[in-house]
Symmetry: C2
């Protein structure tokens, strides 16, 4: 099976979504971004709704690959690398264009159960990676055994979601939120942080 035209259509949909948002997106906009006709796009994907769902699967695979590329010799390093991946605008990383497209799709989630289920997968992918790193860090003795990996991951996932929404919609920088997360990890997660403060 040759999937080249479908990949080209999905890449074109992603570009058009970043530039126009979902509300004003038309099949014609997507055709303009690609070398294909609106007829070909309809042939492969039927309608805008199906195309959006296929795009979410396509972006999810890419997103998970990036999340899994996070490295570090300690759990603290892995946690901060993951936070940095999610809160920086370095070349080759998701970036504001990706987050603009995601916000546009998130706004559709309350009105479309298929889209919502896919948006939940994006959220869970981030939440679970934080939870696994924190749980392993506690197990290894690197993080304080009194912290709850689920509560901390919920907090981190919420900070990151808020930073993304505010960057896209309001134009706030991600940098102070990354700094706040680093402080939080240093102050709350490291085993013996209290004894360091009081000694």
């Amino acid at each position: 099976m040759d999937d080249e035209p479908t990949t080209e259509i999905l890449e074109a949909t992603f570009r058009a979504l970043r530039e126009r948002g979902y509300a004003d997106l038309t099949m014609k906009d997507i055709a303009t971004e690609s070398s294909l006709s609106t007829g070909s796009i309809h042939y492969y994907y039927g309608n805008k709704q199906n195309l959006l769902e296929a795009l979410l699967d396509f972006l999810y695979e890419r997103h998970v690959d990036q999340l899994d590329s996070v490295m570090g010799t300690t759990y603290r390093e892995r946690l901060l690398s993951l936070a940095e991946l999610l809160l920086s605008d370095v070349d080759g990383r998701p970036g504001i264009a990706f987050r603009t497209a995601v916000l546009s799709v998130q706004a559709q989630a309350p009105f479309n159960d298929t889209v919502r289920a896919k948006i939940v997968e994006f959220d869970t992918a981030v939440f679970e990676r934080f939870r696994v790193i924190i749980a392993a860090g506690i197990e290894s003795g690197e993080f304080d055994e009194d912290i709850d990996p689920t509560i901390v991951s919920e907090f981190l996932a919420t900070m990151i979601a808020g930073a993304h929404t505010r960057q896209v919609a309001v134009g706030r920088s991600l940098d102070p939120i990354y700094d706040a997360l680093v402080d939080y990890v240093e102050d709350h997660l490291a085993d013996g942080h209290m004894s360091r403060v009081t000694s």
Copy 2:
């Protein structure tokens, strides 16, 4: 000037936006939610874009009135009342319906400068109220003088934005985020929190 039909149109637009989202909203949907014809709605507001802008001004006034209704005899109480207003689903408060409409509009902000400017006003209204309470609490000696009101308010506004995005798009509860904010205020803001921990 009789503003009854315009108020009715804006209330109907708000209901239709909560139920359908901005992407699929039509003038006909708004007419269905009101006692007016699509012709009357066009007469008063021209198009969907103008109507959205008028709705944002209408909701902003209401939002600011609610933010300003926050009470408390101490700055800590005022701060937590503000957090509770923003992170609870009690009757008569903004609620998930309001936040669903806001997310739908936030997704339009990158593509429309007028909408973006209004969304910035919503964000600034929350950020500034936190900043003013924290600055006054430091001034009064209730909060630690080493904290930076701008950094803390940025952090709180981001947590709240993230909790709203995740509630609407992913169905997460606001409760753990309210609890995390209460812990944060108790652990980081109160003057002498370090001496309490170590004494």
